[in-house]
């Protein structure tokens, strides 16, 4: 078992407007990218985010060796229960994802 951070160059998460968060996984090489496409299931991702599977959008961008996930925020950006204005720390959940 290895973590996703071992095969990525960079993982970033960011708010995409006040109602969505988007996470970009930049892979080291083609092998890592294709391996991840097969091994990171939408179930796995929706589990770490505690969202429903159908709330998750997934894009596999071969030219950039990137997998992108977008999902609606549970709490609107900056509302009383929001903890992370720019959605910055969702990236950490992905870095620690076990493959």
């Amino acid at each position: 078992m290895k973590t996703l951070s071992k095969i990525t160059k960079n993982i970033r998460s960011k708010n995409a407007g006040p109602f969505w968060v988007t996470v970009d996984l930049f892979f080291k090489d083609n092998n890592s990218f294709f391996y991840a496409c097969e091994n990171i299931s939408n179930e796995k991702v929706s589990n770490i985010l505690k969202i429903k599977k159908n709330q998750l959008k997934r894009f596999e961008i071969e030219n950039l060796k990137v997998i992108k996930f977008s999902f609606p925020r549970k709490n609107i950006q900056g509302s009383r229960l929001d903890r992370d204005m720019h959605g910055a720390s969702f990236a950490i959940l992905f870095e620690q994802l076990l493959l």
Partner: protein, 451 residues
């Protein structure tokens, strides 16, 4: 007369972000038709739209803006700012106008300035709401008449049509309220009949300045638009745009890396080609634009939902760190017991454990006991006084609440006196919607000013 190419100089991702001054001088030498910069967005949270204030200080904004105004005088082309003053409300447009007037006076410059305010009145919005002309975007919250009535500010995001009207006024400086990041760039090439899809695509690539290059902090980039596509060139000498850095910018802050919804239609970059051009530039062609009827503008609004006070206490005692959840449970019980049957009964308390799970909350997968934990108590009430009174009510417990009744009274560490800090109003974003507009060209009025 229509031009065959349009050059737009983008000094930085937003006014207030860093840019390289030499790169800006290089950019001016390229003889741009327009200098365009973004002034904000919702990115920093609801406070700015709610209060109608800027994120950056008056003095810092004046310093950066005066550099751009000086460059404009040299280039003798219009200078345009969109979403002035972070949130782009009428108050922030006025704020930006004041700064501009002050600089012009200091420089003894005679300037023609036009302002475009994009605020929408509640009456207008309620009418649109009742006639079903406000449509939710994916992931939108539910709205009703009360929510519209409770907004402190509501703005529409201006599109190319409204920005074109402002540019056509032949002003030296254009200060626009809330605008899409892209419209301030796409407006001019579209007006000149150049490739519409490329105008929006280039604008999206350039909206964060040099973020689409290998040296984001250099800020300045030049976009050249024509009938078939666009070319992006960084103006800082050591900086490169590559097909990878340019394409990758489509990912940034976008839910979908291929589709961009804009006023009046949407951009599809699925089949775009990114080609290395000369040494540092990238040429892009092949994106598509689709008009959508009826014409829509996205709206943003923020409403006041309460006032907050926060208290922070530091816990260093390992016994308490081990049992932090239990301690927090006791704090909560004590608080809710105290406010029962008092005027503070509807105050909401949230306790976050800094050093434990304050960032991710129930998504935090790691459970480690650190050597210290800070407990941040957040009180939300319908007045500042009530929020502060609640914090004072919990003060003795934050300082001394024991885990067990029979243990010697513990004391925890307050980092400040008083430990309560009034945080002020709490605003909440309330729209992820578009409104249908009958006449896009006449939705907003321009105001003309001279210095």
């Amino acid at each position: 007369m229509n031009k065959k190419t349009i050059k737009i100089l983008v000094p930085a991702g937003a006014l207030g972000m860093p840019f390289d001054k030499n790169a800006l001088i290089n950019g001016i030498k390229q003889k741009p038709d327009l200098i365009a910069i973004d002034g904000g967005s919702t990115d920093s949270g609801p406070y700015y739209l709610g209060s109608g204030k800027s994120k950056y200080s008056y003095s810092a904004t004046k310093k950066d803006w005066s550099i751009l105004m000086n460059m404009r005088s040299k280039a003798k082309v219009p200078l345009l700012i969109g979403t002035a003053g972070t949130c782009g409300t009428k108050s922030s447009v006025e704020w930006m106008l004041k700064i501009t007037n002050e600089i012009a006076k200091e420089n003894k410059e005679k300037l023609k300035i036009v302002t475009l305010k994009t605020d929408l009145s509640k009456e207008f919005l309620l009418k649109k709401f009742k006639s079903g002309k406000i449509k939710p975007l994916e992931g939108a919250p539910k709205i009703n008449e009360d929510i519209i009535n409770n907004c402190s500010n509501i703005v529409a995001l201006a599109g190319a049509e409204q920005i074109q009207k402002a540019i056509n006024s032949k002003a030296d400086i254009i200060i626009a309220g809330r605008s899409t990041d892209t419209a301030i760039i796409s407006a001019l090439p579209i007006y000149h009949g150049l490739n519409v899809a490329s105008a929006w695509h280039g604008a999206k690539i350039a909206e964060c300045g040099a973020l689409a290059t290998n040296n984001p902090n250099s800020g300045v980039i030049l976009l050249e638009f024509d009938k078939n596509g666009f070319t992006i060139t960084p103006m800082c000498k050591k900086t490169k745009a590559t097909p990878q850095t340019v394409f990758a910018h489509m990912l940034y802050e976008n839910v979908d890396p291929y589709i961009l919804l804009e006023p009046g239609g949407y951009l599809d970059v699925t089949n775009a080609k990114y080609i290395k051009h000369k040494q540092n530039s990238v040429r892009v062609e092949g994106s598509k634009w689709y008009n959508k009827k009826p014409y829509t503008l996205k709206i943003e609004g923020a409403r006041l939902v309460g006032f907050q006070t926060i208290s922070i206490v530091l816990i260093r005692d390992p016994k308490y760190i081990e049992s932090i959840d239990k301690w927090i449970g006791k704090l909560k019980n004590s608080f809710y017991r105290k406010i029962k049957k008092s005027i503070l009964v509807d105050v909401q308390l949230e306790l976050r454990k800094i050093g434990k799970d304050a960032t991710l909350g129930n998504l935090e997968p790691i459970s480690i006991n650190n050597n210290e934990v800070a407990v941040m108590a957040i009180f939300t009430a319908n007045s500042q006084e009530k929020a502060n009174d609640s914090a004072k009510l919990l003060n003795p417990d934050l300082l001394h609440l024991p885990l067990k009744k029979n243990e010697p009274m513990p004391t925890f560490s307050f980092p400040f006196s008083p430990p309560e800090i009034d945080k002020g109003p709490l605003f909440e974003f309330c729209f992820h919607h578009v409104i249908e507009i009958d006449n896009p060209k006449n939705i907003f009025n321009l105001e003309f000013h001279t210095t």
